[in-house]
């Protein structure tokens, strides 16, 4: 996974920043928490956290759900069902996320007649884009389950839904958990693109502050750190979950 000792890594990354921060051309005062403006600026930067996190979490939940729905026909014996899966995956994967965000925000309202806010436009675009990857992850995960598990399920007369729900998916999800964790990390990073349609998440906040303070170096450095900490926390969470699920079986 990403790192083994998150704290050590952060220190290693911070060190050159701190050292060069002593040089004259850095102006850390813009985000100096001991001064009033510095504190206000920091608060402003951090206030984007809520949208970055909630957007990513809602989008990943939807994309996992849609991904599973798309993966299932991909596993069917029937060629036309598999084709539906292929077309969806190939099509959605081919669209750059940024393009999808713009299309959903500016284009979709014209098609549907409904206007959607930036937040939900972002959620839909990210979820849609990620669902193609989730579908592939699920398909591979489900295919990795031994065929004996299906046969045993058939032999005790389980319905397809029960077999998936109680036998196949619990085992498949355990196997794809690291991949799902990676997708969440990816999602957190991609959510920064939603700033282009004006969503007040971390990146947008940083951009706005840069415009008023003219200190891009320091402000974007803080932005980098914000994402870094967020993603390290997520990775640690995923690892914890993996460990817990493993010990469940012993």
């Amino acid at each position: 996974m990403l790192v083994t000792r998150p704290l050590n890594k952060i220190l290693v990354l911070l060190l050159p920043l701190l050292l060069s921060g002593c040089a004259a051309d850095w102006g850390w005062y813009v985000v100096n928490p001991t001064t009033k403006t510095g504190m206000t600026n920091l608060r402003f930067l951090l206030s984007g956290l809520y949208y970055t996190v909630s957007l990513s979490l809602i989008a990943i939940l939807i994309s996992v759900f849609v991904g599973l729905l798309v993966a299932l026909p991909g596993l069917s014996q029937k060629p036309y069902l598999r084709r539906i899966n292929r077309v969806y995956v190939e099509l959605v994967r081919a669209i750059p996320i940024l393009v999808l965000i713009l299309w959903v925000y500016y284009g979709l309202p014209q098609v549907t007649g409904l206007s959607i806010g930036v937040f939900w436009a972002g959620v839909i675009a990210l979820a849609l884009s990620d669902s193609a990857f989730q579908a592939e992850i699920f398909r591979a995960g489900i295919q990795s389950i031994d065929k004996g598990q299906y046969e045993a399920s058939h032999s005790i007369s389980l319905s397809y839904t029960d077999m998936m729900r109680f036998v196949i998916l619990p085992q498949a999800i355990k196997r794809i958990l690291p991949a799902l964790g990676n997708q969440l990390v990816y999602m957190l990073k991609m959510s920064s693109l939603v700033s282009v349609i004006g969503m007040q998440e971390l990146t947008r906040k940083a951009n706005e502050l840069v415009v008023s303070e003219y200190r891009p170096l320091e402000i974007y450095t803080i932005l980098v750190l914000e994402y870094l900490v967020l993603i390290l926390i997520v990775s640690a969470g995923v690892r914890w979950l993996e460990r817990r699920m493993k010990t469940d079986e012993r």
Binding site: D146, G148, Q149, E151, A152, H154, S155, I156, S157, L158, S159, D162, F166, V167, P170, Q171, K174, D248, E249, R250
Partner: protein, 248 residues
């Protein structure tokens, strides 16, 4: 009369895997309570034959009728038949993420629609029958192979099947564990269960079989009572095969 018509009736059943014909016009009748043991060389179609009985493999031609229900594409018939026919696999195929008790309760609760309490009661009864009541809360991987196979047998029994199919249930086991599984199977046979067993355990076959079947190249070559089968098999192929496996 239930005994008048056979419980299982296969008539001219054929099955191809691509170009290869795994079953060639196989016909077989099994009466209620009858025990049939099938043997034959590797690749002769033994597994394919019994897997057709609960439609883990779909046959292409011929008919399979089980307890008066015709096995075909109709999913309702298939479900009915699968709830009557249990299967025990060479590789056990227990659900590794569920405890022994959960393995046993899943079918009864989801497919037979029993209450959890009733299903647990049933599970514990059969776990006692296979003589491992104390393992209920363990996970399959914590058990020995012999214990796992007995759990698998109990899992089938929890569905209260009328027929049990065994596909080489002891060939994945260490020698010292074979007997504990065979003992359970003998008891089951004595209790009147209808059984079709693919196995090369000839001691077991002599003890329980009503009918012996020898398969080769997708055909039933020899079908006889155990007495006749072991004393004087008609075909040369069957004689050669028995000589080989009875040598040691």
């Amino acid at each position: 009369m239930p005994t008048a018509s056979p419980l299982i009736k296969l008539d001219a059943v054929s099955k191809h895997f691509g170009e290869f014909q795994a079953l060639k016009q196989v016909s077989l009748e099994v009466k209620r309570g009858e025990k049939v043991v099938i043997c034959g060389p590797s690749g002769s179609g033994k597994s394919t034959l019994i897997r057709c009985v609960n439609r883990l493999e779909a046959h292409e031609s011929g008919t399979i009728v089980i307890d008066g229900i015709k096995l075909d594409e109709n999913p309702q018939n298939m479900r009915k038949i699968r709830s009557k026919v249990g299967m025990v696999f060479q590789q056990f195929n227990l659900f590794p993420h569920l405890t022994v008790l959960e393995n046993l309760m899943l079918g009864p609760v989801r497919a037979r629609k029993l209450s959890a309490d009733k299903a647990r009661e049933t599970a514990l009864t059969y776990l006692g029958r296979v003589r491992i009541p104390e393992q209920a809360d363990k996970y399959p991987r914590q058990l020995s192979g012999g214990q796992q196979q007995r759990v698998a047998i109990a899992r089938s029994l929890c569905m209260e099947p009328e027929i049990l199919l065994f596909d080489e249930p002891t060939s994945a086991l260490d020698p010292e564990m074979i007997n504990e599984v065979l003992d359970v199977m003998v008891e089951l046979a004595d209790s009147g269960m209808t059984m079709i067993c693919v196995t090369h355990e000839m001691g077991f076959a002599k003890k329980v079989a009503d009918k012996m079947i020898f398969m080769d190249h997708g055909e039933i070559v020899e079908e006889a009572t155990p007495k006749k089968f072991f004393a004087a098999p008609e075909s040369q192929r069957c004689q050669d095969f028995l000589e080989k496996i009875l040598q040691h």
